[in-house]
């Protein structure tokens, strides 16, 4: 009998420990403590026991009953204190605040400027409506020479035009400040080009100018390579190719290995493996003369790049017009 009781205790307690829901606990209570429960039956049968055993068995049975009741109570409390289930469909959409974003052109300008600002250059802006002197003459662009073709622009009235590049701001900065100067100039520029997938009569440029004693072509190379790798990635190769600009000498075009094909040659890089991303050069002595800087004492480099072109390469945009149509399905892709 005692053995039987111990077995009941063991089974009841282990069953109770495994019970996770109220129904299971109730089932155990009925099984052992119900009117016909196994422990109840034993307690009922105590009368029939010889008196010698009665006290011993009775005590154990009552102890087990108390213990079991206590355990049931504990278990109930434990289960009830658990967080209750609330059955929401957690796949319903979360409430996301409508997100806005900056225009890809602004974003690219910020990316470019941030890199140069980290090198110590200052952001400076200038007017879009410019005087002829700033857009042409002071930059050593003769009025009637084929080298001016690349800088054709819109006139507003005599001696007032929409700048065809951001370089006029170089002149404005140098006229106002003595060397050293180090500036980065983002802004809109205008050229009377017929609009197609790669041409727009309005686009953006970022211009840079660094002038001090002992600024060299090697500095130009190093500084712009640093930029190119920050902007396009460490694995990009950079090369400098001689070119011509009226306001710099020596002048260079900066090419990066094609970020579409990795330099193997594709449609985007015209199978050359290289992409031209900016023009640069040492500031021409004529420009120094125009602003009254001493060329024997100071030297410097300038550079300029088209923002849309860089954004198109970097983000795989194939038509420049997309930037100015402002279709939100295009713009919202820049998160």
């Amino acid at each position: 009998m005692l053995k039987e009781l111990k077995k009941i205790q063991k089974e009841a307690l282990s069953g109770l420990n495994k019970a996770e829901v109220l129904a299971e606990i109730e089932k155990i209570r009925v099984e052992y403590l119900g009117r016909k429960g196994r422990l109840t039956e034993i307690l009922k049968s105590l009368r029939k026991l010889p008196s010698g055993q009665k006290a011993q068995v009775g005590k154990l049975a009552n102890d087990i009953k108390n213990k079991l009741m206590g355990e049931i109570e504990n278990r109930l409390k434990k289960i009830e204190s658990r967080p209750r289930e609330e059955c929401v469909d957690i796949t319903l959409p979360g409430i996301v605040a409508a997100h806005g974003n900056k225009h890809p052109v602004t974003r690219t300008i910020d990316e470019i400027c941030d890199i140069f600002v980290s090198l110590g250059l200052n952001v400076v802006e200038g007017p879009e409506a410019e005087r002829e002197r700033y857009n042409f003459e002071a930059l050593n662009i003769p009025l009637e020479h084929p080298s001016r073709d690349a800088f054709d622009t819109f006139y507003i009235k005599d001696d007032l035009l929409l700048r065809s590049h951001t370089s006029p701001v170089q002149i404005r900065v140098m006229e106002k400040e003595e060397p050293p100067v180090a500036v980065i100039v983002p802004g809109k520029v205008y050229r009377p080009d017929a609009v197609d997938a790669t041409h727009s009569f309005m686009f953006h440029q970022v211009e840079g100018l660094v002038i001090d004693k002992n600024i060299t072509f090697s500095d130009l190379k190093g500084t712009l390579s640093f930029f190119a790798n920050r902007m396009f990635g460490d694995s990009v190769k950079v090369r400098f190719r001689p070119h011509f600009f009226p306001f710099t000498e020596p002048s260079a075009d900066l090419d990066i290995s094609c970020i579409i094909c990795g330099g193997k040659g594709c449609r985007v890089c015209s199978r050359t493996g290289w992409l031209e991303v900016m023009g640069a050069g040492m500031v021409d002595p004529e420009v120094f003369k125009a602003v009254g800087y001493n060329y024997e004492k100071y030297s410097g480099f300038a550079f300029g790049m088209g923002v849309e072109r860089i954004a198109m390469l970097k983000y795989g945009v194939n038509d420049i017009r997309l930037f100015f149509e402002n279709d939100l399905r295009f713009l919202r892709q820049w998160r």
């Binding site: 959409p93 052109v105 090198l119 200052n122 020596p250």
Partner: protein
């Protein structure tokens, strides 16, 4: 310009492959865009920069190639050639000597015009020129070989056998070899006979004196014309020829007699004619030019040292003649064909280019901290601060859920038709590309409306957009440009919250965005005043001011204005005058201590006439509150049942708080009662 690899070999012993040569040329500044194999030749497409007219010939490219590959080079005109005037006299009258510094004419008689021999035909067609006949082809052949344009006239068709170089007369015209008729003007230079123009100088010949199969006597012209005159005429007439392209950039005067002689000889040979007369009129002077190069200047500009010996080798290979070499400098003669070279820096560029940019060191520029205090705008704020504030404004609005757009600065006149601009305030663009881009925008709102329209027409709805950019205006006859910012809302909010019904944007959504922007830029004491103006609906628009400075306008856009943009939906728009705002921004505020004593909140509901503004009630409450009121917040606006028509009920929650003590209920009650009394007495309010 197209280059024939085989033709280059006439001049230079190039031993590398076309691909290698293309790479070398590219890395020396003659960018080769493509190489194409054509039978046994390779055709390269080169971009020649406008400073290098000497490269607009096979000879020029070959000289460069020889220098880059350290191979030998043979000039086209190896034997020097003196100009001569001999044989039959040829009448040449130069009426504008300043614009035609040299005119060389050769008369070849008894020529037989026929098809050119195979070599010339092949070379011309290889480089994209259509063979015509042996005479014309030889002129073209020398143009490609030497860069010097030549022209052949049928001498018998020149009336009076006289060649005159003069300005065209008003009303004159010429039928040219391209079968077009050109109307000439007084600043266009022509070659004429006694009666009429027979060629547009340096650009194209006339059809009347064209070389045909019946031609017997040929007058060969080899001249120099002023680049600006040619460029102007070519632009005016809308024509560009191989000849004008070269004259615009500048051809070398020195070699004219030599090229003329060679070409004439070849013509005489090919056409079995004989050279009967030569004439060379030279009004200019060939100036020997020399230069000096300091070795220290090379390292100052380029940042590395190079030996004088190396420099000497480079310059010699490019056709310069080193006349003296010191320890730290060189002097040299500049060849005539290098008109682009005159200064020391020009020579440094040559050295750098040939030496190879890729071989130079790379260093990071040392930026001087001394420049940090510079770059202040006229308004006294630094350029950096201006840029930072603009960037902040963009961040604030995009964080707030708006998408930035960038529209064209030029807009149509029509898009402004509903705005109140005076005609002389508007800035027009000369020679606009189309009517859509005639005007420099005086406001950003048309651009915003265009973007809304574009998107709505494509079923892209629920739009919140902004643009930041410059606007242009003539103010009292004075042109001005300044930054502005515009906002546009259309559609509904809460569109992506499935728990609540979406709600159309209204005035207060827009106002909230504007308030957000100003508060985050540290602009506090702004006042919204009702204004009825421009393109906004009466009663639903406001102007934002601070100390009487106008900072922004905002409102619901009138449907008549929206019609211009084909918009049927409601639109709310604002324009912020950024130039003014920039001056009001306070980026740093000192923090205030956290209040030490608890606050007590009391509600207050009043019924007032509809036209009484809430801001006036709040002003009155604060004024009466004796400095104990920390905040007054509106929490309900109601009109309808229980409220008489023409009236509205406004409910405020007033937060009382003292900096010195804990306020007791009786203290607060006292102030609250006083406020109620004041509102009743002064604003005729009824308490609810």
């Amino acid at each position: 310009m197209l280059i024939s690899y085989n033709w280059l070999k006439d001049f230079a012993d190039i031993k590398i492959t076309p691909e290698e040569l293309a790479e070398r040329l590219t890395m020396a500044g003659i960018e080769i865009g493509s190489i194409e194999k054509l039978k046994d030749d390779f055709i390269m497409d080169a971009e020649i920069t406008p400073n290098r007219p000497d490269l607009l010939s096979m000879e020029g490219i070959a000289r460069e190639a020889a220098c880059l590959t350290e191979s030998s080079f043979r000039e086209l005109n190896a034997e020097s050639c003196e100009a001569e005037n001999s044989g039959e006299s040829i009448e040449v009258k130069i009426q504008v000597p300043a614009k035609c510094l040299r005119y060389n004419a050769t008369l070849i008689r008894d020529a037989k015009v026929k098809i050119s021999d195979e070599k010339i035909t092949r070379r011309l067609s290889t480089l994209g020129l259509r063979p015509v006949n042996n005479i014309v082809d030889i002129t073209n052949y020398f143009l490609l070989a030497s860069g010097q344009p030549l022209h052949a006239f049928d001498y018998d068709k020149i009336e009076g056998s006289t060649v005159v170089v003069r300005w065209a007369k008003k009303g004159e015209s010429i039928a040219a070899l391209d079968s077009r008729e050109y109307k000439l003007d007084e600043d266009i230079l022509v070659i004429a006979d006694e009666k009429k123009p027979i060629a547009i100088a340096g650009i194209i010949g006339g059809i009347d004196t064209e070389i045909g199969y019946e031609t017997k006597n040929v007058l060969l012209e080899c001249a120099h014309f002023d680049p600006v005159v040619i460029r102007r005429a070519a632009r005016r007439l809308g024509i560009s020829t191989d000849s004008s392209y070269r004259f615009e950039r500048g051809v070398c005067m020195e070699t004219i007699p030599a090229v003329a002689r060679k070409a004439a000889l070849l013509i005489a040979q090919s056409a079995k004619g004989s050279i009967k007369g030569r004439r060379d009129i030279f009004e200019g002077r060939l100036k020997e030019r020399s230069g000096k190069l300091r070795i220290d200047e090379i390292s100052r500009i380029l940042g590395f040292k190079i030996s004088l010996d190396k420099v000497k080798r480079i310059l010699t290979a490019l056709g310069f003649e080193v006349t003296a070499a010191g320890e730290r400098s060189l002097t040299f003669k500049i060849p005539f064909f290098r008109q682009d070279v005159s200064r020391e820096i020009d020579i440094i560029e040559e050295v750098a280019r040939v030496y190879g940019y890729d071989k130079m060191p790379t260093t990071l520029a040392r930026i001087s901290p001394k420049q940090i205090k510079k770059y202040r705008s006229s308004a006294g704020i630094s350029e950096f601060r201006k840029y930072k504030i603009k960037k902040m404004a963009r961040d604030i609005l995009s964080d707030r859920g708006l998408n930035e757009v960038i529209t064209y600065s030029m807009i149509s006149e029509k898009s402004l038709s509903k705005f109140n601009y005076l005609p002389d305030e508007i800035v027009k663009v000369q020679k606009a590309l189309s009517v859509e881009q005639e005007i420099l925008r005086p406001t950003l709102i048309p651009g915003i409306l265009n973007v809304l329209s574009w998107n709505l027409n494509r079923q892209v709805e629920d739009l919140m957009i902004f643009e930041l950019g410059d606007v242009f205006l003539n103010k009292g006859g004075k042109f001005s440009e300044g930054a502005a910012l515009a906002i546009g809302l259309s559609g509904s909010k809460f569109a992506n919250d499935w728990r609540i019904k979406s709600k159309p944007f209204d005035f207060f959504d827009l106002k909230g965005i504007v308030e957000n922007l100003f508060s985050r830029l540290g602009i506090k004491d702004i006042v919204f005043k009702r204004v009825d103006s421009g393109i906004f609906v009466k009663g639903r628009s406001a102007v934002v001011t601070m100390a009487d400075k106008k900072l922004a306008v905002l409102g619901k856009v009138e449907s008549a204005a929206l019609d211009t943009f084909d918009i049927e939906d409601e639109v709310y728009a604002a324009e912020v005058y950024l130039e003014e705002v920039l001056l009001c921004v306070r980026l740093v505020d000192k923090v205030k201590p956290i209040p030490k004593f608890p606050a007590v909140t009391r509600d207050l509901a009043v019924i007032v006439k509809n036209d009484l503004s809430s801001s006036e009630i709040i002003k009155m409450i604060k004024k009466t509150g004796k400095g104990l009121i920390r905040e007054v917040a509106l929490f309900d606006v109601y009109s309808g049942k229980q409220i008489p028509t023409g009236y509205k009920s406004l409910a405020y929650s007033i937060k009382y708080q003292s900096e010195k003590t804990t306020l007791t209920d009786p203290e607060v009650d006292k102030v609250q009662t006083e406020i109620q009394k004041t509102l009743v007495n002064n604003l005729k309010a009824q308490m609810r």
